[in-house]
């Protein structure tokens, strides 16, 4: 109940942020721009629309999560609104979870709006509702939840600018860490290989949530892959949230 109250207040506050609408506008422009790009391309035009559209959802969703998430806790401390909240009979973890769910709700609504534009564009080309698209969007949502938890973690001890840089780095590393796997295969057994393997397991692999290529190309995806991605998303998000709670519990609000 207390978490719900904080989440709803966070949602009310977040949907008033102009950055959100600016990003929504650019996401819509990019999705519509995919139509123009498709006209200039030789080959299956609808695949270009789907590919650019889904990438736009992921990228702008991530930007929303980072830009909003990094300010979430910092703003409360900076403006001192947290004083009257923490002094009430509420645990600090409840406050943090309320903030997390509030932003996740905001991102869900934003993703819904972006998806509506994207799916409408696809529908005008194919005149069919492509249900596989919903699967790709669902996993984009899982990815956004994880990025939100990371942004929230940085927001607990750093300024919004630094937190945004750290979270953006997390996003970029998360989408390129698979390169390490190739590197590990190529280097001979050595200390370097062990280090690379350790790093590979420590770094996030956000490509686990990326089913765009398979869905756009109509490739078969084994159900274990979906299950693995769901579990990976849940456990990684929980892990990051627990670290955030541990840091936040010990923090002095000066």
């Amino acid at each position: 109940m207390k978490i719900k109250a904080i989440a709803l207040n966070t949602f009310k506050e977040a949907i008033r942020d102009r950055i959100l609408y600016l990003l929504l506008f650019f996401a819509a422009v990019c999705i519509i721009f995919s139509r123009l790009l498709a006209l200039l391309t030789v080959g299956d035009r609808i695949k270009i629309i789907k590919d650019v559209g889904l990438t736009s959802l992921s990228l702008f969703g991530a930007l929303m999560a980072i830009l909003m998430g990094t300010g979430l806790v910092f703003k409360e401390i900076d403006k001192k609104t947290i004083y009257t909240i923490v002094s009430k009979p509420i645990h600090r973890y409840q406050f943090l979870l309320g903030k997390f769910f509030g932003l996740v709700l905001t991102l869900f609504i934003m993703l819904l709006l972006m998806s509506f534009i994207f799916l409408a564009l696809v529908f005008f080309h194919t005149f069919t509702i492509e249900w596989e698209m919903f699967v790709a969007i669902l996993f984009i949502f899982f990815e956004l939840c994880l990025i939100t938890s990371v942004a929230l973690l940085f927001s607990c001890f750093s300024t919004p600018i630094l937190s945004s840089i750290f979270s953006l780095a997390f996003y970029l590393i998360g989408h390129t860490a698979w390169g390490l796997e190739t590197l590990i295969k190529k280097i001979p057994p050595s200390f370097g290989k062990t280090m690379a393997q350790a790093l590979y397991h420590f770094l996030p692999d956000l490509e686990n949530f990326n089913f765009k290529t398979e869905i756009v190309q109509n490739l078969d995806i084994p159900s274990e892959a979906f299950l693995y991605s769901v579990l990976y998303g849940i456990f990684y998000t929980l892990f990051v949230l627990i670290i955030a709670i541990v840091i936040f519990r010990k923090r002095d609000f000066i």
Binding site: Y83, S87, P89
Partner: protein, 305 residues
């Protein structure tokens, strides 16, 4: 009377600057507050008043010391359920209206819906913001913010209320309104912990005070024990008597027009001055005996500190 707040040997320091140099803010604070009293917590800026309140309410963690509220550890939900808090220069969610704001905070206390509506209405009436119930907090003046802050502090009908500089930055009317609410809380039997440096107000409404300087409590006790009731001097404003005639009676200051202000230190001289005025057919405009004030005591303590 039962002790509602007990603080023992509270220590706190902060790491400041680039080199994270440790600065001691609280150096062994110990005090207790009894039920039903308005307890004044006085000190100059930077003395550690707000830090003490933040330690009590769990906003910061003391390095050493023990805090109990109603016999419970200060961070326990049981202790927090019985306390209310108005911070210094309060800032709230400015996108909410006054009633939305109180509704949000009442959910943190799990107040039931029917009770909630009644409570919000009565609190808005108490702080005289009924007509601004649907106004966003961003449009509130400083005084109005202070009053809505007071309302949120009273949402759970607390037995112990912490007010951090509630009178700071308010105009005389705003100060009176907040003072009246504090007096009302006292009359209702609630305990108020009031941190301030506006001494006249403290003197008017507090039963007991503690004076903190450089993180240490220098003096604490009942106001009437701390301040001597002995008359220090008498200020007499008079006219129609010459300067020479008043010589030796006290310190002489010329006032506006023909008025003269005389500071008489010896009590027997007061009667002599009055006789003099009568014989010279002059006029006494005012006669004020000055006892020691909290301000005198405060200034003396701070200077020593």
């Amino acid at each position: 009377m039962a002790t509602v707040l007990k603080i023992e040997n509270l220590h706190k320091s902060f790491k400041l600057g680039f080199l994270l140099k440790k600065k001691k803010i609280l150096r062994g604070i110990s005090l207790s507050v009894e039920q039903g009293e308005v307890f004044g917590y006085l000190g100059p800026n930077g003395a550690g008043k707000t830090t003490t309140i933040k330690c009590i309410l769990g906003l910061i963690f003391p390095e050493e010391g023990n805090i109990e509220i109603f016999g419970h550890p200060h961070l326990s939900p049981k202790a927090k359920e019985k306390t209310g808090f108005l911070p210094e220069n309060p800032y709230f969610y400015d996108h909410l209206t006054a009633s939305e704001f109180l509704d949000y905070y009442s959910q943190l206390f799990l107040i039931k819906k029917e009770e909630k509506e009644k409570k919000i209405k009565s609190l808005l009436r108490l702080v005289d913001l009924e007509r601004s119930a649907d106004l966003q907090l961003r449009k509130f003046s400083r005084g109005m913010l202070q009053r809505i802050g007071m309302a949120q502090a009273l949402l759970n009908d607390p037995s112990l209320v912490f007010l951090d500089e509630p009178l700071g930055g308010l105009d005389p009317l705003g100060r009176k309104e907040i003072r009246d609410i504090i007096v009302r809380l006292r009359d209702e039997g609630k305990t108020v912990f009031l941190s301030s440096h506006i001494l006249q107000d403290i003197e008017m409404i507090c039963n007991r005070v503690a004076i903190i300087v450089n993180g240490e409590i220098i003096n604490q006790g009942a106001l009437h024990d701390l301040i001597s009731e002995k008359i220090l001097f008498t200020e007499i404003t008079l006219s129609g008597v010459g300067e020479k005639e008043l010589e030796g009676m006290g310190e002489y200051f010329s006032g506006h027009g023909d008025r003269t202000l005389l500071k008489v230190f010896k009590e027997e001289n007061v009667a002599k001055v009055l006789q003099l005025v009568q014989s010279s057919k002059g006029k006494v405009h005012s006669l004020i005996p000055r006892t020691e004030t909290l301000e005198d005591l405060f200034v003396e303590i701070v200077k020593q500190g």
